[in-house]
């Protein structure tokens, strides 16, 4: 039996990190939105590590926040411990990571969705999706039928999920949830190309079964830097993490049982992430390494479950117990939840455009692991962009297209839709060629004006933003104008910092450009310094110190944007363009880049092919003879 359950502007399938941002953004922009979840207790779940952020991922969280998304604020509210990673390695790679209380995080997120106007939450498994003349029609397992103007697929590891623990395998979602078993078939019937990816997670163990006495302790930063530009009172560190190592015995146990791994036994067909290898993978692939590191992290403030970061595995349960117990501190460890691998269906993101809409299916969007990415933050970023774009399209507004030079979010999406993925995609700072410009400290400067135009930044937050930008500008001016006399006090500082002393007055900005000097060092001689928040001085110092590099990257960006403006018509027949190499023809036909800039980033498309495309475009526009 099916019944008409009503009309929706936007349906979001899945309420993980992608679905949450998609649903909130769409509803906040005024669209009647519903989010579907297989289990209401899975909303905002963190089925893998109990942390948000990390290298490049911290950038993503700050960018989502700068645009008006939710992840950063909720992470701040649930922080157990926080660290700014890579201090000392340079501002481009500073990244925030927080251990969070995963239960609290899920509760807070669910509550935010519940409170959001225009947003409905439904516990239901979507079993069918089809296109009617006018709309998308979703059917749930219980027979409810919804007519939707747009649908966002944010199915995570639920879609066709299958669990592997040793030789045991069964259909299942993450964290013991039911999988979505029928939706994948419906998507295939639509003509969407799906593939199998896999990921894995380590065991959760009981805190009191661990001997911490001999383990290295890892503390949080004091004071903590919050994720959100909105958070007024920074969170506090409430707990510590610990570090341990595997050893020769661990290796021995794992290698003795490697034939019982579903991956090495050939049972898993899905492609796993290169950056997130299981411990058995690490031991086999890097056999020369005598030991591997692991982190012991708390799952929450009100639970004794501990997460063993670095130790994901799909070995049988008995082998897991045996090898975990070879590790120092874990000799008597009690496993509460076993490690497992999960295989799932996802799409080939080359089918998507930069708004994350399917090129062939207007009104249908993908986000998160469904698009071949991995990670909560990558998912949330795409969810936000898909939700915003689905809404903007219904509202008849211009789409939100973030290019590579705007953000890590733009880089992530551009990578997905132009390069495709061969394993689950993780964000890294090395993926951004513009990383000296795309820093976590200036995410608001880069993106909050965009969030404001979208209508997702409140007046109060906008006022705060403008004040901060004004303070930055004023401080840069002050630094450029303030001349410090060549006093003994100044020269003492310069000599102590191993940089050359001065004999004449010197501008504050000039001193700050020296790598050896910081605002902090110069405080005693900088008498006119205003009372601004710490982050103002940090941003200004970075802007001054890296000025030359930033200028050059801005030139690169201008060049990149020039090529992005050379649009390629969506219906180009690449097989008919003389001069394109065969591989380029195939790749271009498959990826269908929106512009020359994107075309140039496709692997298999050479600069020579780009020259041919440019000549072809010029000829087509009447600046020469046609090429074919």
């Amino acid at each position: 039996m099916v019944y008409e359950a009503g009309k929706l502007d936007i349906a979001v399938i899945g309420a993980g990190h992608a679905g949450i941002e998609a649903a909130l953004a769409a509803a906040r922009l005024g669209c009647h939105t519903a989010v579907f979840t297989i289990n209401m207790d899975a909303v905002g779940n963190c089925p893998c590590n109990p942390s948000i952020g990390g290298t490049a991922k911290g950038h993503l969280v700050r960018e989502i926040d700068a645009l008006g998304g939710e992840m950063g604020k909720t992470a701040d509210a649930c922080t157990l411990q926080s660290r700014m990673l890579n201090l000392g390695k340079g501002p481009a790679v500073h990244s925030l990571r927080a251990q969070i209380d995963r239960n609290q995080y899920a509760r807070v997120m669910k509550h935010k969705l519940e409170l959001c106007p225009n947003l409905e939450m439904k516990q239901a498994e979507v079993v069918d999706i089809r296109r009617d003349a006018e709309e998308w029609v979703l059917t749930t397992r219980l027979g409810a039928q919804y007519g939707c103007r747009a649908v966002i697929l944010a199915t995570g590891t639920f879609l066709g999920g299958r669990i592997f623990v040793g030789d045991v395998s069964y259909d299942g979602g993450p964290d013991g949830m039911f999988p979505a078993t029928e939706l994948a078939g419906a998507l295939k019937r639509l003509g969407i190309a799906l593939r199998r990816f896999k990921t894995g997670t380590p065991a959760r163990v009981l805190r009191s079964s661990i001997d911490f006495s001999d383990l290295e302790v890892q503390y949080g930063d004091e004071p903590v830097t919050p994720f959100s530009f909105d958070t007024e009172t920074p969170p506090e560190n409430k707990c510590v993490c610990h570090v341990s190592w595997t050893n020769a015995r661990t290796k021995e146990v794992i290698l003795q049982n490697i034939h019982r791994s579903p991956l090495y036994g050939g049972m898993i067909e899905g492609v796993g992430p290169r950056y997130c290898p299981s411990i058995e993978d690490k031991i086999v692939r890097f056999s020369e390494k005598p030991r591997h590191q692991l982190f012991i992290e708390p799952c929450g403030a009100e639970t004794e479950e501990m997460y063993l970061q670095g130790m994901s595995s799909s070995l049988p349960e008995d082998v897991q117990i045996a090898f975990y117990r070879t590790i120092k501190g874990l000799e008597h460890v009690q496993i509460m939840r076993s490690a497992y691998a999960i295989e799932y269906d996802c799409c080939d993101p080359l089918q998507l455009t930069s708004t994350l809409e399917f090129r062939a299916f207007p009104g249908l969007y993908g986000a998160g692991q469904f698009n071949g990415s991995s990670g909560y933050e990558e998912a949330a970023a795409q969810g936000f962009v898909a939700g915003v774009n689905a809404a903007l399209k219904l509202l008849g507004r211009e789409p939100l297209i973030l290019d590579r030079a705007s953000s890590y979010i733009g880089t992530l999406i551009d990578d997905l839709i132009t390069k495709g993925v061969s394993d689950p995609y993780r964000m890294m700072t090395s993926r951004s060629e513009y990383r000296l410009v795309l820093r976590q400290d200036n995410a608001d400067e880069r993106l909050t004006p965009i969030g404001r135009r979208l209508g997702l930044i409140s007046d109060a937050r906008w006022a705060k933003f403008e004040k901060k930008q004004a303070q930055k500008a004023a401080e840069i001016q002050r630094a450029e104008k303030t001349v410090l006399p060549p006093s003994q006090a100044l020269n003492d500082i310069l000599v102590s910092r191993e940089t050359s002393p001065v004999t004449t007055g010197v501008r504050l900005a000039e001193l700050l450009r020296r790598p050896q000097l910081s605002y902090q060092n110069l405080a005693p001689v900088d008498s006119t310094r205003p009372d601004y928040p710490r982050e103002i001085f940090e941003s200004v110092e970075t802007a001054l110190k890296y000025e030359g590099y930033i200028k050059r990257q801005l030139q690169d960006i201008a060049e990149m944007r020039r090529l992005e403006k050379r649009l390629l018509p969506p219906d180009v027949d690449y097989t008919q363009i003389a001069g394109l190499r065969l591989e380029a023809r195939e790749k271009l036909s498959r990826v269908r880049p929106e512009n020359i800039g994107q075309a140039g980033r496709i692997s298999g498309v050479s600069p020579a092919d780009i020259s041919v495309l440019l000549i072809w475009l010029a000829a087509r526009d009447g600046h020469g003879e046609p090429q074919s």
């Binding site: 501002p91 790679v93 000296l436 001069g579 050479s606």
Partner: protein, 454 residues
């Protein structure tokens, strides 16, 4: 596209000269100028066949005997229908035939246009196209060898070696930045500096190869200077005589000066306005001392001729001063006469001094070696892969600048995120050169070489 034609062999007197016609109307144009002995028309000829006959102009006047070869699209150099007319050579005859071909409907090919069409029709990649351009304009044997090495990928291999090492460093730095909590070998600053320096040295050597490579390929604008009776015209005759076959006379369409190319060792010397020198020594004097000195200043290469049998005079010294930093070999002539010249003074001014007898030819090979030193072609092994084009040079220069920047950042105490950006800039520039895009090379290498991840 228009059907185009040009003389596609070197514009030099030789055994056979070839006129290439390419385009949809190539056979039709061919049929208008070519009469096969067998009476067959080129339009009916299969690809890769040839016909013997003769070429005639519009009036039907027979110009030369000829073999016409037909290549059918797309299996030709340009990917289009091509007809090649092989005539008996001789610039005058070839030019007459070409005029007839134009009159029959072909348009003159722009420089490099055959190659451009080959490239556009997918017959070659950019690096190959550029190597072929180099091949076409190769004026000396070495340039020919170097261009062939480019076609075979010697340059690409040389670049790949440098790029591979830079990618390794980049991957290590990326792993270090992206996996701060992972157990990654420390990046050692000394090692980093050493490898950046090594990368720079390799790139600098490549850049040197460009200057030398260009000399071999394009020749070098050369002035033979010297006071009256030093032996300029004798030297000129010696050079011109030693390999008569490649002396060319291009009554240029774009320039009025008569230019003559002679080979000195492997280096083509382009002697500007040599007519003046060769006619009579008197006429050179009429040019006036000032003009002669000006030409020395603007030349790419100077052969400064001194008379060994006389002491240096004011004319000699004025010339030495005018030469300044211009690449130059001092040629002390008339070694067959008793020496009166102060060799020490000459050696004080010139790094390369050669004693010859232009009359007998003694010392000519030493002169060639000295020129190779000065023009940096001596150390060049064309089989190693050298840079041919401005584009390639610009890419290598960009990569070198990036590495210099990375080194400066490291030296100046900047954080390593700045170093990595410069380093990746260098890798990107080298990829641009070989026409590859491996933008994810660094990321891929991280996962290949380091055990990272939770």
């Amino acid at each position: 596209m228009k059907t185009i034609a040009a003389i596609s062999t070197a514009a030099a007197p030789g055994g056979i000269g070839v006129i290439r016609i390419s385009g949809d109307a190539a056979r039709a144009v061919g049929d208008r100028v070519f009469r096969a002995v067998s009476g067959e028309a080129l339009r009916d000829a299969a690809g890769y066949t040839c016909r013997f006959g003769y070429v005639a102009d519009e009036s039907g006047a027979r110009l030369d005997e000829c073999i016409a070869t037909v290549f059918a699209a797309p299996k030709s150099f340009t990917g289009e229908d091509v007809v090649e007319l092989s005539c008996h050579g001789g610039l005058f005859i070839l030019k007459s035939v070409l005029q007839a071909v134009f009159a029959a409907g072909a348009a003159p090919a722009a420089p490099g246009e055959f190659t451009r069409r080959a490239f556009l029709n997918g017959k070659m990649d950019l690096a190959q196209a550029e190597a072929v351009m180099g091949l076409i304009s190769a004026q000396g044997r070495e340039a020919m060898k170097a261009a062939q090495a480019g076609h075979d990928g010697a340059l690409s291999r040389r670049i790949a070696t440098i790029r591979n090492d830079l990618t390794d460093i980049g991957a290590h730095l990326a792993a270090w930045a992206d996996y701060p909590d992972d157990d990654i070998p420390q990046v050692n600053e000394t090692m980093l500096k050493d490898r950046l320096s090594a990368g720079r040295r390799s790139l600098e050597a490549l850049l040197d190869s460009f200057d030398g490579g260009r000399v071999l390929r394009e020749g070098v604008e050369t002035v033979i200077a010297g006071k009256p009776n030093a032996g300029k015209s004798t030297l000129m005759n010696l050079l011109a005589g030693c390999e008569r076959s490649i002396v060319t006379e291009l009554a240029g369409t774009t320039r009025d000066v008569v230019e003559e190319t002679v080979l000195l060792g492997d280096i083509p010397l382009r002697l500007a306005d040599t007519a003046g020198i060769r006619e009579t020594e008197d006429r050179v004097e009429k040019i006036g001392v000032q003009i002669a000195l000006d030409r020395v200043k603007t030349a790419q290469f100077v052969l400064a001729v001194f008379d060994a049998s006389e002491a240096l005079n004011d004319d000699d010294r004025a010339m030495i001063e005018a030469i300044g930093d211009t690449p130059c070999v001092a040629v002390v002539n008339k070694s067959d006469l008793p020496a009166a010249i102060d060799m020490a003074e000459i050696e004080a001014h010139f790094a390369q001094v050669v004693t010859i007898s232009a009359l007998s030819g003694d010392g000519l090979s030493a002169l060639a070696e000295a020129a190779a030193q000065v023009l940096r072609t001596a150390a060049l092994n064309p089989n190693d892969g050298i840079l041919y084009t401005e584009r390639q040079r610009a890419d290598v220069k960009a990569a070198l600048d990036c590495l210099t920047e990375a080194q400066d950042a490291l030296q100046g105490g900047m954080t390593w995120d700045a170093v990595t950006v410069s380093l990746e800039g260098a890798v990107a520039a080298l990829n641009e050169l070989t026409g590859e895009r491996v933008s994810d090379a660094v990321v891929d290498r991280v996962f290949e070489k380091f055990c990272v991840g939770k």
